[in-house]
Amino acid sequence: MISSGAWTLFRANALCLMRRLRPVARTSPVLALLALLAPAALIVGLAWAGWRGAATMAASSDDASTAVVLTVGVVFAIVGFNVQHVSSADRSLDAQIRAAPLSRLGLFLSTVGIPFTICCLVVSILSLAFFMPLIYAVWAPPYTLIHLVLFEGAIFYAAGAVGEVLKRVTRRQPAALLALPPLVLAWVASGLATGGGAWPGVARPLGHAVLNTTIESALRLTCGLLLLLLAGVSVWISVAAFLDFPEQQTFSHVGRKLRVPGSRFGVVSSVALKRIGRNRSVQRHTLFVAFVAGTLSCLTCALLPGVAQIALGSILLLAALSVAVVPLATYGANRDSSWFWRSAPVSFATYVLGMVGAGFCAGILVVVVPTATATLPFLWAGRGPPEPGVVVVVGVTLLVATGAGFLVPCSLENASEQVLSYAALGASLAGVFAAGAWIAPRLTVLGIPELLIVAGLTLIVAGLVVAAAFLREHERRKA
């Protein structure tokens, strides 16, 4: 049962978030309208994509069915990990509230647990919109959708638990690693119980059920998934709320010294970049995404070589979306130093461009490590580098993330803010790629080379991001 204190605190946070959006709506009514329409459009878009892809997926092999379910799991793992790992209940509230009589569990639930669960529900609804046409097309039993949601929830919470464990390990609390074996055991046990095997786990029978290729025992599948969900939730709550959290060391080594460049633009961007780069959460997060991407690449190369190229593209996009939290949060994390830049002899344009540059560069820098780890196994297996198109999409994603971070700023500690920023990123990306998909074929008909079209569209996106940043910062200064 959620204590009334936790619920009160969650409601206060949610109210603050809603009120934070008011100025955005005032500044950009069109964007606000788009944001309101975006969820409905996203559901319709996913349902349409699911309907279009249903026939292909229905005809795919057993391996592919497992891969489809595993990919969904990875999406949930990364979203769950992002929200849980980077956020920190102990830092998102001010000292007066932290000193109030609220239990660690209450504090955790109000700042991470409840927003985390709402986030999970929203993403589940989106995935249902995608899978519903497939379930209908292959005449799978409707309760398969419930199995899918259980699986997504289990992966989401397990990823949150893993994130919490890693956060503690990097804060010199290796005892937290003891929480990982129960998760692995639950995965293996659920796989063995449902006939999926130890390593593909419950993903294989669930893939079969989704594509209706083999009649699975619904009861066994439900039990296996519930076991997994229970393990994820209980480990998550046990680690986050009941294990003492190690305090941050105040005096610590910060790494390479800051070299301040001569130009003013360089000063703003390098200081903002260095600041976000020295953040332990960002360092841990990048390493985790690299670890996940590398593991997935190795498993795909070894177990599912038939879908290698598609898997590589998906892994890189997931890595980009995952590390997008860094460009999203660059502006938010530097908000408290805005007084410094405003009073310093630095022009408004230099400040905005410097911050946009810092956000984009931070995104590029943090995406390099997971990209390298994801690509290496494929290169090793002789399956070639990723498609150039994927690289463009990764770059545009990070660029748009920088702009979304300006529009709806988030900090690295606040889970609710991050969820909101990710929603803004999702809406902006949907808009950018929908516009790109509409314009590009029309330009190709005119005989313009593809490379030129891509470069031109990317430049337009960059221009839009910078313009949005200027407008937003201008509004903030006026307020």
Partner: protein
């Protein structure tokens, strides 16, 4: 057992000991002050009592409740005013007070009555529906002070009470703190404002380099160190007087 007790509290960050083996007691009805230079461990001591950080060694109890073992019970027995501005920038002053009261589960009528009196005394009645983010640092400090001091709790902790306050606010705060002390609550404040500390506190704890170097009532301390003020006492106890003399000699050298 009531009041506040610290027995051998130690807090280290790596090799650096920020608070080392601190012993102090604040009895009910006593207004006590922690004074000392920057980095001497005042805020760390208050953070240890408030449960924001845990001591590496020693015990701290509030109203007989250990702040580590019975953290929630201990927290129900004190109100805390930190030196940093309050968050929740998009809540109004009244909403913030309501949230704070709710967390402590205090009776609404009594809390609102006390908060209303304090808001009026601080001149904040007109700001009731204003968002915290739109208010100045000083006004937010007054709101944080009102939130904590309106609680019906046996212990009050205030970090840098006069930080950001206007002279009128300082006078109101001084009277408030004295009133709270007179009603039987234990008050511990950490401050660098020695004049404020001397006028408000019944007992002073002089901290230097993470340890307690002297304590007693302002009058006793002045007498013990044959000083005319607490500032002089402080300079004598910490040996900072010599450093200041040296500094003044160097300044003279600059101007020559």
């Amino acid at each position: 057992m009531s009041g506040l007790r610290i027995s051998g509290a130690t807090k280290r960050y790596g090799d650096k000991t920020v608070v080392g083996g601190l012993y102090l007691t604040v009895e009910p009805g006593v207004v006590a002050g922690l004074v000392g230079p920057n980095g001497c461990g005042k805020t760390t001591t208050l953070s240890l009592i408030a449960g924001l950080i845990t001591p590496d060694e020693g015990r701290i109890s509030v109203s007989g409740y250990d702040t580590v073992v019975s953290a929630l019970d201990a927290k129900r027995n004190f109100g805390f005013v930190p030196d940093t501005p309050i968050g929740f920038e998009h809540l109004t002053v009244r909403e913030y007070l309501e949230l704070y009261r709710n967390l402590y589960r205090q009776p609404s009528a009594r809390y609102e009555e006390r908060a209303g009196v304090m808001l009026e005394a601080f001149g904040l009645l007109e700001y009731g529906e204003a968002s915290l983010g739109e208010l100045s640092h000083g006004i937010r400090r007054k709101v944080a002070t009102t939130a904590a001091l309106s609680l019906d709790v046996p212990t009050i902790l205030i970090d840098e009470p006069t930080l950001g306050l206007d002279p009128e606010g300082v006078v109101v705060l001084r009277r408030l703190v004295r009133h709270i002390g007179s009603t039987g609550s234990a008050v511990l404040l950490a401050t660098q404002d020695l004049t404020f500390a001397e006028r408000v506190c019944d007992h002073l704890f002089l901290l230097y380099d993470g340890g307690l170097v002297a304590d007693g009532s302002p009058a006793v301390l002045r007498e013990r160190y044959q000083a005319s003020s607490i500032e002089e006492t402080f300079l004598a106890v910490t040996g900072m007087g010599r450093r200041i003399d040296d500094f003044e000699r160097r300044l003279d050298a600059f101007s020559r």
